[in-house]
Symmetry: C2
Subunit: 231 residues, 2 copies
DNA sequence: AGTGTTAAAAACAAGCCGGACTGATTAAAT
DNA sequence: ATTTAATCAGTCCGGCTTGTTTTTAACACT
């Protein structure tokens, strides 16, 4: 599994007992991860605001006391869970992108990238992440937790996309525009309440977006640049 | 009429000489509206999940007992507040659109429509509405309250846009596409966390979107329809 | 084994929210 | 003037959530 930017050193404060990772430390780390997985599961099922420490504990199959041992307060639990979620988000996206067959090239590859992103956006992980962003508007604590990961996430996506579409990476402004258009439109689609005929409309929008991506870079190669320059 | 299911706009309890409307009824209606305004204000300031009946009451300047007289339970208060918010949303959008000067025509008018929509989306009312939508994922009660207004809202927007851009109204599919693209992209922009250089990127995206709208209908007039047809 | 350390479980205390109830005050309606 | 409706202030209870404390169980080391 990926991530590991934070969780590893739980029993790092090893006693004089030596170098080998004690059995208890391993066990402890495992229950820690179980708790974090349970926390995210609760986010998905209950929604951020309805998550209580008791529910996380029971969902993880541990007692509240055990959980309090690992996370002395709810704040610390949430913080750890958000970081964990962040790791899983990055992992999910990079994995989906990495699974695009190398045989695809050109327009097919770009289309596959959009589909992969769409899969990512419609998954539970992103749904929860989005909920956290919304909730953070009036939750300063959560806000400060998220601010770090948001920038990291944006940079990571840009980087990944740069690797995925090497032919576009050095297009500068135009690359940013393409990514912003994709991001906004697809996140908008993911969040929009399209009440009637949703399937067809989404399909058509994805198709439309794919065409626009091609257009942006085709235009770049030809001449008609002026219209959406940055004034 | 779509909105106005329960009260009139702001001065609903107009003090004109109503024989049939008793003084007390008017006064009662006024405090009722004060409470609903306070509820929405609390939504804006505190966020949906942090709203308590006590805070709404104190924010409205009435006692809890008085509020319970109007809204016997929190559920009924929320329900009324959501309907009230829905009315205000429609009012806000139609007003912003109506304020577009009649002297504007063609592309200028379309651009003004996009700007008006953007103003609408970045206002407090929509922010709160969006929060409610997100919260409704795991709040069945709220969900059922919202479902009604969502469809009404979508229809109303379509209708309003049809009046605003009469030249497009009978374009059928293409009109739907244009509206979906605009809706998704702009709502995505409103919700997206663009951490760096936000202003410039938003400006550019609005510009880009405007161009795409023109393009959609220009193409319709010429020939190259095939690419984003509904296959 | 026996002792000490640590994870885990269970019991406890405190706070907040929503709702019910009461009694008093004000003002309109008759 | 009497009646009725609206408003207000205060109290109390039940439920839920959090965090602390106490108790039990598991393991490690000599």
């Amino acid at each position: 599994m990926a991530g590991k930017t934070h969780n590893g050193p739980k029993g790092a404060a090893g006693e004089q007992s030596g170098e080998d990772v004690s059995w208890q430390a391993q066990k402890s780390a495992m229950t820690r991860d179980r708790i974090l997985d349970a926390a995210i599961h609760c986010f998905v099922v209950l929604g951020y605001t309805n998550v209580t420490t008791a529910k996380v504990a029971s969902s993880a199959g541990v007692s509240r006391g055990a959980m309090l041992h690992h996370f002395p307060s709810k704040t610390e639990l949430i913080q750890a869970a958000v970081e964990y979620l962040h790791d899983k988000l990055l992992e999910d996206y990079t994995e989906k992108v990495a699974n695009i067959p190398a045989t695809l090239t050109g327009a097919d590859r770009r289309r596959a990238g959009i589909d992969a992103y769409w899969d990512h956006l419609t998954g539970d992980l992103f749904t929860v992440y989005n909920e956290l962003c919304v909730a953070s508007r009036t939750d300063p604590e959560l806000r400060s937790i998220l601010e770090n990961s948001q920038q990291l996430f944006e940079e990571h996506i840009r980087e990944t996309n740069g690797e995925l579409f090497t032919e576009w990476r050095d297009r500068g402004d135009r690359f940013t525009l393409a990514m912003d258009v994709t991001k906004c439109m697809m996140e908008g689609m993911a969040g929009a309440q399209l009440m009637i005929n949703r399937e067809a409309r989404v399909k058509r929008l994805l198709h439309y977006l794919t065409d626009r991506m091609e257009e942006i870079f085709e235009e770049g190669e030809s001449s008609a640049i002026g219209r959406h320059s940055n004034d």
